[in-house]
Amino acid sequence: MKPRSVVFLAPKQGNSEQEWEDCAAGSPGVPGRGGNPRYIVADGATEAYDSLRWVNQLASSFIGVDAPELTPESLRRWFAQMQELWNTEAPARASYIEERKFAQGSFATFLGCELVDLAGRRPAWRAAALGDTVLFHVRGGRLVAHFPALRAQDFGLNPDGVHTSPDRLDHMVGKLRFASGEIAAGDLLFLATDAFAQWMIRFIEADGLKLWQVLSRLDHPLSFERMINTQRDAGKMKDDDVTLLRVHLVTDNPAFIVTCLP
């Protein structure tokens, strides 16, 4: 069994992709973590400063050679390293307003996922979360679990996240959540940032089977963009940066490859 992953994204309406402040990354085998596949989705807070640098730093490190284990102790060390790096590599500030903003720091939700024992007897996903970026585990057109187990009304209420301030370290570690689930060939994992995750949770209540059919068949960025715009225009999805990372656990090679021409 092997994972096949793809990322769909949509910036806020009217924004360019360069202004998309989420981040998603995946690796089919992280060297520092026994070659396990890893995925991360982070959502830079709208009001935060220099969010892009913060989420990019988190994402590249999470799948890099010094990737943390998904334990409170390891993640605590990693958060501290990330904070130090963010602060020491900060560009010069241009004004006293920017200086004050820098002092407030940056902030992003975090969802990290690792696939383990894919060739063994008990393949599974393991995940750590801080905030309202959500993992959905789907099998046979049905939702097996979602993590964190948020309800639609839980979104937008000052979510937890990874902050650049060392003062927040204890609080962050205290708010970390962990979960795992066994996986099988054919299963799908979706990692989604808040606006899309909230929409998915609402949709599941109405017609979950259709939702998974649609999302499992998404094969082109423009199809995703059209779907997002339709839902936004209908007032069913918050106009926020949207990210969906899909992992399909397969045993065969792709039947076709989509190439997106500029």
């Binding site: 309406q13 202004e19 640098r53 004050r100 903003k101 000052n158 106009d239």
Partner: protein, 285 residues
């Protein structure tokens, strides 16, 4: 209603009405400042907060998330008479509504001063509003002036969150009726101005030189001394998101609460301004 996000495509509008009547010269109990000095300091602090809040990128400018108006009533230092006039001075003197990005670049001064934040030391504080006091309290005229600008703004921004007008006062209205309408009627005219997202909001905070028994977001005027009941009647019901923000900030606010602070000290004024200027989510566009 009251759901629209604040963004560069759909900016918000916040108008401050600042009482500059003679009674604002009173010392503010528990502080070393007069009411006028404290109110100006709080206003400058909130404007700086909005600028910081609207700064996103390294080297980037403050984003145009809001249009800001500040009108003083009572003493008018530019016209040198009683009335209502823009409280901006320096490069922005005389302007009515100013984009936040322009405001950020044009303080009258940047001073090293004691921060009004509790427990904070000195900080570099930009100054947009100076303390002024004199004459009486033409609150009707102030609300009428705000209404004229807000009406035009709402027409130009139909998709935006509705305008927010925050009235900071320490006294009784002295010009009601003004131009044939009472304070209550001027307030009603103001709060019937709408965008597609709802009616303009009127928030009132009454400063007391000897603050005691301060009341924030009451659900009833019962028990409020004068001019509490009148201010209660002209204050908008707090939208749900402001109620949520208040509760998240540790300020109890119930459904049906009015956007009123009464017998406020400096800390209450700051809290009131913080909650009142963050009506909804700001999304980055």
């Amino acid at each position: 209603m009251y759901d629209q996000i604040i963004s560069r495509r759909t900016p918000g509008c916040i108008v401050f009405l600042l009482d500059r009547s003679d009674s604002m010269k009173q010392q503010w109990g528990g502080s070393s400042m007069t009411l006028a000095q404290g109110a100006a300091a709080a206003l400058n602090k909130i404007l700086l907060d909005l600028c910081i809040w609207s700064t996103k990128e390294v080297g980037g400018a403050v984003r145009h998330y809001f249009d800001i108006g500040i009108f003083g009533y009572g003493a008018c230092p530019i016209a040198q008479t009683e009335g209502v006039e823009s409280a901006f001075s320096g490069p922005l003197a005389g302007q009515s509504l100013v984009p936040l990005s322009v405001l950020a670049d044009n303080p009258v001064a940047v001073r090293e001063a004691p921060s009004v934040d509790i427990g904070a030391g000195h900080a570099r504080i930009p100054v947009w509003v100076e303390p002024v006091h004199g004459y009486r309290t033409p609150m009707c005229q102030a609300i009428a002036t705000a209404g004229a600008h807000v009406f035009d703004w709402a027409g130009q921004h139909p998709a935006s969150f509705p305008p927010i007008v925050i009235n900071i006062t320490d006294g009784m209205v002295t010009d009601s009726p003004h131009d044939g309408a009472t304070l209550d009627e001027w307030a009603k005219r103001l709060t019937t101005i709408e965008t597609n997202d709802g009616a303009a909001l009127l928030l009132n905070i009454f400063l007391s030189p000897s603050p005691c028994h301060g009341v924030l977001y009451p659900v009833s005027p019962v028990g409020l001394p004068e001019p509490g009941p009148e201010l209660f009647s002209i204050s908008s019901p707090l939208p749900q998101k402001m109620i949520n923000n208040a509760n998240a900030a540790g300020v109890p606010a119930q459904p049906g609460a009015r956007a009123l602070g009464f017998n406020a000290d400096l800390a209450m004024l700051l809290r009131f301004l913080e909650i009142g200027t963050r009506p909804t989510e700001i999304l980055d566009r």
